[in-house]
């Protein structure tokens, strides 16, 4: 996929569809100045920090018909988006990404799933060795399960997002130490 420069592949089979997306990468070594502000917008601040009063309590949609429907993936259809789970990215992590680490960010808005099914082992965890092309996670957007694959071969340093939480576009998901 990388060589072909294709960003996404979508496979449809009846009701189910799976889209495989290349994660957007942010290679910190290519960046002249670390710009933590750039990828630490409001949504990721922890509720306890600063007490900005801007965070909303979790809530559900008016109709509950909006869960994932893909039976193949087996993901829990009743998962309620939990705002409070929406990612802790301590500023220290964002800034520490400097030396030889890379951040994998969300290529789309959606719900982050660490595993193919609720009770299955996560695709990756801190310390996991990964190869380029390995699935890192799934992001569900409009009932579509999008597999996010790694651009890197290396080691997962940190998983920045809690399972089943909402992620916004460009939100950091993983810190990876590439091995060349």
């Amino acid at each position: 996929m990388q060589e072909s420069d294709i960003g996404e592949i979508e496979i449809k089979e009846g009701e189910d569809s799976v889209r495989i997306s290349r994660s957007t990468k942010r290679d910190s070594s290519a960046s002249v100045s670390p710009a933590p502000q750039y990828f630490v917008p409001d949504i990721r601040q922890t509720p306890t920090e600063g007490g900005s009063g801007r965070r909303l309590p979790p809530r559900t949609n008016r109709k509950e018909s909006s869960g994932p429907t893909s039976t193949k993936s087996g993901l829990d259809a009743s998962v309620t988006p939990r705002r409070s789970a929406a990612v802790r990215v301590p500023d220290s992590i964002a800034t520490d990404v400097a030396a030889g680490h890379s951040t994998v960010t969300a290529p789309m808005v959606g719900t982050f799933y660490e595993a193919p099914e609720p009770d299955a082992a996560p695709f990756v965890q801190a310390g996991s060795k990964i190869n380029q092309g390995d699935t890192l996670c799934i992001i569900e957007s409009m009932k579509m399960m999008n597999r996010i694959v790694s651009e890197y071969t290396g080691i997962v340093e940190t998983v920045l997002v809690e399972n089943a939480s909402g992620v916004e576009y460009d939100q950091p998901l993983f810190v990876i130490k590439p091995v060349s």
Binding site: D42, I43, R54, L56, P58, N61, P81, M108, V109, S141
Partner: protein
């Protein structure tokens, strides 16, 4: 304020001045807000006024899955589309409703019906409104010459799914016909993905008059009066006012009455605008916009009502917030659209080094601008709307002129000089504006570089 309103949460699927406008209405109605934004807009200050913000992509506000996912993961119960972007997309309206979220707008079916201008024309004609002479719905290129024999020249070729002047050609000479058709089709295909068109008799020196209506979706409809929007350049409105001046009250009453009746028969829901050409003492329907419009503030100023609040109220309660007898009309209001563009009408994006907004009695400013804001090149050039209210039209006009003079925007070019120049013309003062006026004022229709020493 009913308790139901305190538990709602709304995604603002738009940007700029209309995002902040929607946000303000939500705030005073105690509806929580989530501002969708792109990376291009990440520094917009209105994002900080929302209860929460969520990044949906690099620059695209047309990404339906991203917007719906954003609404879902933030637990939104409603989506307001603003104007432009997805505000008149039946696909978006359907997708929002399918996700169990309330779309602040009409039904997808009505959006589709009115989005196809040829169908809209037939629909309202059947509901008793006059339309300009022309084709019965869409017409093929082969059929146009015989239509021209019937209705005469000039004619206007209009893309069925067009808007904003795109996919539109005026034909004065039969020799220009085939070129004009293919140009209009090419443009329409490129802009809207559809090349179908219809034909109308072109009325050269007409006025653009529109009616603001509001419906609850079950047949109750009120109107909020008329607006005059003839001050346009290339079909882009520059100055709008309410009420439409210099037209006999009886004629306007008949028009608004017809609009209410037609929209009531349709069971239209949401705010909407019916646009007409006015010439020779008659109104001819052109099209309907099934959304909030840029110029809605002038109607708010003369009625004291809040159209966005009224939209939200209908979405929440499936009934109107007020009856026709509650709507009182008072005074006159005029709006200027301040665009970030230079005197050649080219976009002028960049850093606004300093911005000072005008003020004073009757002045309202709807803008997302602030000193230090960088106007992005990716979106349209509207950066502020300055609206003046007065007990009469002349008071509003003078107040608006003072307000534009007061407005200070440094670092980028704006069309403020042109706006003041138009406001000062005898045509505007005496209300003799047609849709051709700005073009005639600019002589060659492209620039408005002022000759030195021009006092205007």
């Amino acid at each position: 304020m009913s308790s139901a309103e305190t538990t709602e949460r709304l995604l603002i699927a738009n940007r700029g001045e209309i995002a902040i406008r929607v946000l303000r209405a939500c705030k005073h109605m105690r509806i929580e807000t989530v501002a969708a934004y792109t990376k291009v807009d990440k520094d917009a200050r209105y994002l900080e006024l929302a209860d929460q913000k969520i990044c949906i992509g690099e620059r695209d506000y047309l990404n339906i899955p991203a917007l719906i996912s954003a609404a879902q993961i933030t637990g939104c119960t409603m989506i307001h589309p603003g104007y432009g972007f997805l505000s008149e997309s039946e696909e978006f309206a359907s997708a929002v409703e399918a996700a169990g979220i309330q779309f602040v707008g009409p039904t997808a079916e009505h959006i589709e019906m009115m989005g196809d201008k040829a169908v809209a024309r037939e629909t309202v004609a059947n509901l008793g409104l006059s339309v300009v002479e022309g084709s019965q719905g869409e017409i093929g290129a082969d059929g146009v010459p015989s239509l021209v024999e019937d209705i005469g020249l000039p004619i206007c070729i209009k893309a069925s799914f067009g808007g904003g002047g795109k996919g539109m050609r005026v034909v004065y000479d039969i020799g220009e016909l085939s070129d004009a058709i293919s140009e209009a089709q090419t443009e329409a295909l490129a802009s809207f993905g559809e090349s179908a068109f219809y034909v109308e008799k072109y009325i050269p020196r007409a006025r653009h008059i529109e009616v603001q209506i509001l419906g609850d979706g079950v047949g109750n409809v009120v109107h909020m009066g008329t607006r005059e929007c003839s001050t346009q350049r290339r079909f882009q409105k520059l100055i709008e006012e309410a009420p439409a001046p210099g037209i006999e009250a009886g004629l306007l009453d008949t028009l608004t009455g017809q609009c209410v009746k037609a929209m009531s028969a349709m069971k239209y829901r949401n705010a909407g605008t019916l646009e007409f050409l006015y010439a020779g003492g008659k109104f001819y329907f052109i099209e309907m916009n099934t959304r909030l419009q840029v110029e809605h503030p002038v109607s708010e100023m003369i009625t004291g009502l809040d159209i966005v609040e009224a939209q939200l109220y209908v979405a929440l309660h499936q009934r109107l917030q007020f009856e026709q007898s509650d709507i009182e009309f008072r005074g006159s209001a005029i709006e200027c659209r301040i665009n970030a563009e230079n005197s050649d009408f080219l976009p002028s994006p960049g850093l606004v080094s300093s911005y000072i907004a005008p003020g004073g009695p009757g002045i309202r400013v709807d803008s997302h601008l602030f000193s230090g804001y960088r106007v992005p090149h990716q979106y349209d050039s509207l950066i502020a709307k300055v609206i003046a209210f007065g007990r009469d039209r002349e008071t509003a006009r003078r107040r608006l002129d003072c307000a534009i003079e007061e407005t200070s925007i440094e670092g980028i070019s704006t069309n403020c000089d042109l706006l003041r120049r138009i406001l000062a013309t005898s045509e505007f003062v005496e209300n003799r504006i047609t849709t051709q006026f700005v073009t005639e004022l600019l002589h060659d229709g492209t620039t408005y570089k002022q000759p030195s020493g021009d006092p205007a």
